[in-house]
Amino acid sequence: MVFQLTINGISNGAIYALVAVGFALVFNILRFSNFAYGSMSSACAFIGFFFQRAFDPPPPFIVTLLFASFSGMVIALLIDFLGYRRIRINNSPKIYYFLMSLNFSIFIEQILTIFYGTNIYSYPSIFKIQSLQVGSLYIKTMNLLILGVSVLLLVALILLINKTKIGLAIRAVAIDAETSRLMGINSNMIIITIFTIAGILSGVAGVFLGVQYGVYPGVGPSVMLKGFLASIIGGLGSLRGAIFAALALGIFEIFLTFFIGATETTVVLFGIMLAFLFIRPQGIAGKLVENKV
């Protein structure tokens, strides 16, 4: 039983990790929390769902994933182009980013609600074999796939950031945008790269969310909070911290839900968040706690 729960927890945690990393990336570069991220995932869940349903026989799942991540990228870039770009040009205070991201979040969610209602659509079954049996354990094939794809994406992302020239530029902009511009880094290009990556992650996360929890307009925002939580526990802006915290959170949440119930879990998780802010606001990995001069 414990092992079974752990496996479910890890695969939930993998989705949270995708969300949390998307946050952490945007936070690193632009220093604001992209609240629109949750609704972007919702939109991608819907896109993936209707893409999967549009063809007969349905396309391979991997094609749906690719298409959804492409759509996620387009949405992220559109949001950047329509909203955040003007704020950057105007050099407005950070608080404007907050409002703009919330605003897009509500915009997407409301459009989805108007056209599709608040009903929960569920993905058709994707695999012929629903679960593998190992000894006395049943492991869902979907959980394995989620875990595999997420690990692949996260490893690729970490390699991209740590080993390539673009990654170096991203790290430089994250430390000091002004100076890196003086050093000849095109920071606009870096911002677009960041939104591309975040969009792809949100697309993949969206499809997985749809598969796990069903497709409805609020699916993204409800997981968004877990992403926040993971990025706080992991330390705002730290990718590795966020990944570890997300996995831990996924496992912890499954156990809590199993033993004390879903409603109570929300309260307990918030308590943990508050406790973390009391005791160790910089998170596991963290820096960046107080406003710098």
């Binding site: 509500i106 915009f107 109570e264 929300t266 918030f270």
Partner: protein, 303 residues
């Protein structure tokens, strides 16, 4: 006036009240909270659920609800306001989620998602809301021009500079947050009395965002702007509520319209519609002065 019109006026009063409270927080001190609707929920639920369960009059439990909101706001503010502004926004999101979860958890008392309906009818609600609204506006206006308000504005523009001038930034922020939460809690009680039914959904984060949108639309630096835009944006959708588009009442498109409007405002007029302007009557005096001067200079030029 018809019942509908009275209801609408009360609704507008409540909206303006909450936006005025947020003006004190976001407009004066630059704190971005996404959880003000949660305080409204606390106000509404604690007042009427307690009053029903313990069989005591609701104005006593109302006072208790406001005190409870004050305590919770203080509890949240103490660890988070020392940190970056992002943490504060996070924690308010988490807080509003937690309040929603708690309402569902105490389903036996709050009736969960079905909604709590045992709210007594109150006479003279219109005058109560109008009166308290005027009081709050007057209060916040005075706050803006007081020493306290000027310290808050200094803190909003540059926290470190404000600190170096000897302003106790941390305690100032806590005070403002507690104040805004208390007003929100009061507005929540009024809203429960108006609707006579409260559900957890009616206090979601969408409502908190709506308030922020109203504030930024009118201009974060202008109390007049905040009041006018809150009243205006709340009333305009009522005129089109009988029009249908794609089989859905136009009112459903309200949030979409707000979102588009605020995107335009933030992009092309970031200071909001009214910018820094406030409504006052100083211009009357200036006009009189100018007329007097003109007549004087007119005579001189004739000579």
């Amino acid at each position: 006036m018809s019942v509908y019109q009275v209801g609408l006026i009360i609704q507008v009063c409540i909206t303006v009240m909450t936006v005025v409270a947020i003006f004190a927080m976001t407009g004066l001190a630059g704190m971005f909270s996404m959880g003000q609707a949660a305080y409204m929920a606390i106000g509404a639920y604690v007042t009427f659920v307690l009053s029903k369960t313990l069989q005591i009059p609701f104005y006593l439990t109302g006072i208790f609800a406001i005190l409870l909101s004050i305590f919770l706001a203080w509890l949240i503010a103490v660890p988070t306001l020392k940190l970056r502004r992002d943490y504060f926004a996070f924690i308010t999101v988490g807080f509003s989620r937690m309040v929603g979860a708690l309402i569902l958890y105490f389903e036996d008392y709050t009736r969960g998602a079905i909604g709590f309906t045992k709210i007594p009818r109150v006479d003279g609600l219109l005058w109560l809301s109008l009166g308290s609204l005027v009081l709050f506006i007057f209060w916040i206006r005075n706050l803006k021009y007081s020493r306290f308000g000027r310290m808050a504005i200094a803190l909003k523009n540059d926290e470190i500079a404000a600190r170096s001038f000897g302003i106790d930034v941390y305690h100032l922020k806590i005070k403002i947050y507690v104040l805004a939460s208390a007003i929100a809690s009061f507005a929540g009680i009024l809203m429960a009395m108006r609707n006579r039914v409260i559900t957890p959904d009616s206090f979601s984060w969408k409502m908190s965002t709506e308030m922020q949108i109203f504030l930024f639309f009118g201009g974060t630096n202008s109390l007049t702007g905040a009041i006018l835009s809150a009243a205006g944006l709340r009333m305009i959708p009522e005129f089109v509520r009988n029009v249908n588009l794609f089989g859905v009442s136009m009112q459903e498109y309200r949030m979409i319209a707000y979102a588009l409007l605020i995107t335009l405002v933030l992009s092309f007029r970031p200071q909001g519609l009214l910018g820094e302007k406030e409504l006052n009557f100083r211009w009357v005096g200036k006009l009189l002065e100018r007329i007097k001067n003109n007549t004087v200079t007119g005579k001189e030029s004739n000579d």
